[in-house]
Structure formats: structure tokens, C-alpha cells
Amino acid sequence: MDILYKVFVEPFLFMGEAPDLLIQTLWEGLVSGVLYALIALGFVLIFKASGVFNFAQGIMVVFAALILVGLYEKGVPAFLALILAAVAMLVLAIVVERVVLRPLVNQPDIILFMATFGLTYFLIGFGELIFGGNPREMITDALLLPQGTTELDAFGGSIRLQHLDIAAAIIASIMIGILAVFFSKTRIGRALRAVADSHKAALSVGISLNQIWVIVWFAAGLVALVAGIMWGARSGVSFSLQIIALKALPVLILGGFTSIPGAIIGGLIIGVGEKLGEFYWGPLVGGGIETWLAYVIALLFLLYRPQGLFGEKIIERI
């Protein structure tokens, strides 16, 4: 009985008692959600365009951020560094297409997945060789990102909104909007989906896989750069940031691997769900449930919709 009360009543009472905390929790959830979505987005782009589950997305985030910071440290002006970092991601996209993807065209998904793991390994080694393993600070000021906090007094408490988080949300939304339009309204967008469906058939109708892949890997690289800036500003730029990419997995799965809106909504659901869960129910079992809660949430949704919220329907026909 006591347990039931603690699980089903108390947390809600508490929500009512301290609405400021509830709102703060929701806000934190939304912010994390946006940040997760940013990483998930990179995955989605590549998955959409090639059916490749890109394990290297996490390291690409780190890599992009490190290039940016590294160049800045060498005295390159911040915005030039930003452009150069983008160029570096383009180069990466071209190299990856040449060296990894082209020879593996039409191979099963899992093989390509494995190849991106090889890529991850390579990039970790390469990155640490160049930049060293020490964490860096993101050049938040130089990039003119707002910092500071607004404290709103409300509901008998206060709600703290970080300007950086607000900026992240805005930038992420703009970027997502642009990508969504680009990929749904253009001929490239259609070709992308075709490639993801079948490499062989796409080749046969003259879709240039090489070109498509470079485009999406570059787009994913840009997304990685943005994600790197935002995450970096929040928790520093280091190779361990790569692990955060794992957080994108439940988001992806919940949203559906192929859907840009799915990545966003999935991110928000996971972000909010996990923060609420940890905040209100975590203490009952000693905390730290955040690590698996996201997966359980995703799993529950999947049992209901096996292709995720916005994923492409799994075609079962014989």
C-alpha cells in the first residue's frame, strides 16, 4: 500500500506542491531533448539516405567541435574557424564516401554499421593524435552565443532559464526546419529515400550514390558541428562526449530511424520523460534510473508501434 502511495500519489502531490520545480524539470527535459535530438538528427540523415546506422556520429560531434576549438586556439578568428570546421566535415564526407562507402555498396546494413564502427575507431585514434586527449572549453563567447541566466519568479519559487539553452533550442529548430524542407521538397530528398530502400535499384535508375552520400554525410557533419558546439558549451569538449551519442539511440528508435520530425519529437519525449522519471520517481529506488529509463520508454512505444512514432512502416508482404 505504502509503495503504491509512493509511486502513484506522492510524486503527483509533489508536482502540485512545487509547480516551479515541475516547470523547471520540464524545461530541463525539453533542453536535453533538443540536445539529444541534435545528435539523433545526424543519425537520421545518414540512415535515411543509405540505410546506414552511423556509429561514428558521436565521434563526428567531438571531431567537429575539436577542430573548431583547435583552430581558434591557433589564432584563427572564431567564425573563420567555424567555416573551416565545416569544410573539414565536407572533406571527411568525401573521404568516407570514397574509402568506406563506395566499396561497400549494396552490402547488408549490419556490415555498413560495422564499417562505421571501424571509422569511429580510426577517428578516435586520429583525433587524439592530433588534438590530444585533454578536454577543451567551447569558445562560447567568441561565437557570440549568449550566456547567463534569466531567473523568473513564479509559482512561489523561481525558474532558471539559461540563455544558452534558449539559443540551442532556437538554432536547433531552424536547422531542423531547413533540413526538413531540403529533404522533403527536393529531388535529392526523394532520391535519398530511394537509396535507403535499395542500393541496387537506386543504382539502376541512375541515382548517383556517391553524390548523395557525400551530401548527406556533409549534412550530418554540419549537424554534428552544431551539436558539438551546443554540447561543448554545456559540458566541455572532450572525447567522452562521444558516449553521449548513445543517448540518441532511444530517441532514434522512438522517433523512427528515418524521420526528421521523429528525431525531434522523440528527443523531446525522451528528454522530458527521463527527467520527470528521475526527478520524481528516481529517489524511490536510489536514483540513477535515467540510464535505462529512456530505453524503457522507447520500448513501450515500440510495443505499440514497432516502427517507432514516425518511422517508415515495416512492409510485410509476400
Binding site: A18, L21, Q24, T25, E28, V31, S32, I124, E128, G132, G133, N134, P135, E137, Q147, T149, E151, R160, Q162, W231, R234, S235, G236, S238, F239, S240, L241, I243, I244, L246, K247, E274, K275, E278, F279, G282, P283, G286, G287, G288, E290, T291
Partner: protein, 415 residues
Amino acid sequence: QDSIYVPLFTYRTGAFAGSGTYIADGMHDYLQMLNQRDGGIGGVKLVIEECETGYDTKKGVECYEAVKGKNPVMVNPWSTGITLPLIPRASVDKIPILSMAYGLSASARGDIFPWVFNPPATYWDGLSMIIKYIGEKEGGLEKLKGKKIGFIHLDAAFGKEPIPLLQELSKEIGFEVALYPVAAQDMQNQSSQWLSARRDRPDYMIMWGWGTMNGAAVKEAVRSGYPMDKFYSVWWPSEDDAKSGGAGAKGFKMLNWHAVGTNFPALQDIQKHVVEKGLSKSPKEKVGELLYNRGVYNSLLIAEGIAQAQKITGKKAVTGEDVRRGIENIKLDPARLKELGLEGFTETLTLSCSDHNGHRPAFMQEWDGTKWVKISDPIEPMTDRVKAQLDAAAKDYAEKNAGWPKRTEACDKAS
């Protein structure tokens, strides 16, 4: 050609490289300095070899196996996670383990763990010092009654190590404890923990972190508006970690037991013989920083252990077994420190057969926005409260590990 093989387990890669690199540089450079300046210890050259563990238990054990056959005089795992599986092997392989101020607190008991050393203080000592310090600030330990203390820790053996003591103290003294575990994969994603801290409003926060966790925690604390002067840490954060909090990090406090800076002859020798000759991997400006000097301290113990062993045995090329005796005979008093060019670098440390730790005091230091400032006298650990627990834990460990050997190694001095 005599030589002494000193393997160093280090991590300059992986998620903990941000902390590990400085430590590695400090450890390496001090030993290298001895080689360059004195031709080693007692005229025997040191063969210094790093083995990269990435703070990963698997690779750590691999490193252990790799060095085991080369007659190492001791191993320095630099990870509580790696230390644990090595503890039972040490006595079998006759290789002393030096887990300096980390590892298993209970291994301070030399009579039960003859091969393991964790000077100058255990994690439990550390925790008791922090509690004591904040107790004094409140005007007496008993004033902590009814207060709430938050404990944010890496969710791993290391971070959980002091929890039993914390809980014990909370019972005795009557303060409340709120635990905030941070999973290794979420080190850079701590918003939930700090959000919960806003809910629980702990009067104090104590942190047991490592690697990127420390910096991220400082950032998040600032972000969520936690009063920094109530935020304490065990002795592992670095300057970089504090810096990542920006101006808001001012007031953040941590324990420490040795000096920062290069104002010591030995450190200047390092600069002269190692750094300037390009034999160090460390950037010049990092020499003398907190974790660098921590590494130096670790190597100081290694060197002393070897020197003592040479003294006791009269041998030059000492073995692991000799060095085990050597460490038990370490006596770093001001005179000796001066001799070594480290006068005032740290407190006196005396180890013995039964006491492998020393349980030495540490002092509190505060981040002033640009550097660490010592703000307290040495704080003695609450030995009275810690000791019984420690003994019980050591006994428990020996009992649970059926067949745990009784100490057979003789003692060199009565204690």
C-alpha cells in the same frame, strides 16, 4: 647493467584523459628527473615504462599481465576499478600495489593487506575531513544535525567507496544524506542530478568525481545556481575542472595535501633536467599544476620506497619484495623532504608494517576564479570514527575471500 623497472599505468586517452594526462606527466617527469640528475636511485637507473589503460579495467589487467614478467618493483593502477582485481594477485605475484589515496580504503591495514599501500589518506579519511570541516564552519559537528548533505559521485566502485562511512556518520551525527549517482556514460550530462539537488536543497554538496565528471559538475552547479561555497570535493578536481565553471565557480572547495606550483628545488630540477630538455610531454605552463604535482607526489613515494629498500637490503637492483619492505619503512619528515628538495611540499608521512596509509591530514583549498588558494590548516581525519569501520571492512574482506592468506611477511620495525 643494473636497472629498476618501474611501470606506470597511465591514461592519456579515453574519457578520463583530461585528468590522467597531468598525473601521468607528473609521475613520469619526477622519475625521469631522478634519472637525468642523479642517474637513477642509488646509482641504479630507472626504466620507466608507461602502459596505457584508458582507465579501463580490462586494459588495466592487460597492462598488469604485460608488466608482471619484467620484475616491476610496484604497480600504480591509478584507478580504483583496476586496483580491486589486482589486490588478491599482489601477494601471489609478489608485486606491491601503490594506490595513492584511492583504491580500497580497508587496504590501509598492512597486517591484512601486506602488498597494498594507499597513503597518505584513505577515501574514508577524506570524507571525514570534509565533514569535520563543514561541521566546524557550522560551529561544531553536532550542529550538522538536521542538515542535509548531498553526495554526488561517479557511479562506480570509486564513487561508492565512501558511502558506507557517510551513512554511518549521518546516523551518528544526525544529518541527512542525499545521493546523486552519475553513471559513467552520463558524466557530461548531469542536469538531472543538479535538478534533484534543487529539489532536495542540500546544505552542502560533496563530490567524488574524476575525469570529465568534475568539470561538468562544476558547470552544472553554476548553471543551476547552487551556492559554490557550499560545494566540496575530494582531492581529484584539477584547475581545468574548476575553470570550466567560469567566474561562477569561485568558492568551490576541495581537499589537498600537497603544494601547487613549482617553487621547490625538485620541481625546478624537473624543469631544468626534463622539461627544458624536451623529455617531458607536459606543456611548460602545466608543470606545477595540481594534478601534475599529485603525480610528482606519487613518484616521490615510488622513489622513497625504492631508496628505503636499497637501504634495508643493501642491494642496488631491488625487487618488488624488497620495495614492499621499503615502502613500509617510508618516513618522509621535513628533514627528508628538504633533502629531496621538497621542503614544505607536503606533510610528514610515516608508514609501517601495520599502517599502510598514514591517515595523514589534508587541508582545504578554494578556487578564487583563477587559482587554488589554501584556506585551512591541515585537517586531521576523524580517526576515532573511521577506524572501527575500517577494521571491520578489512576483516570482512578477508573473510569473504575464502583462503585469504594470513600475513607471513616479516616486519622490519616494530609497530
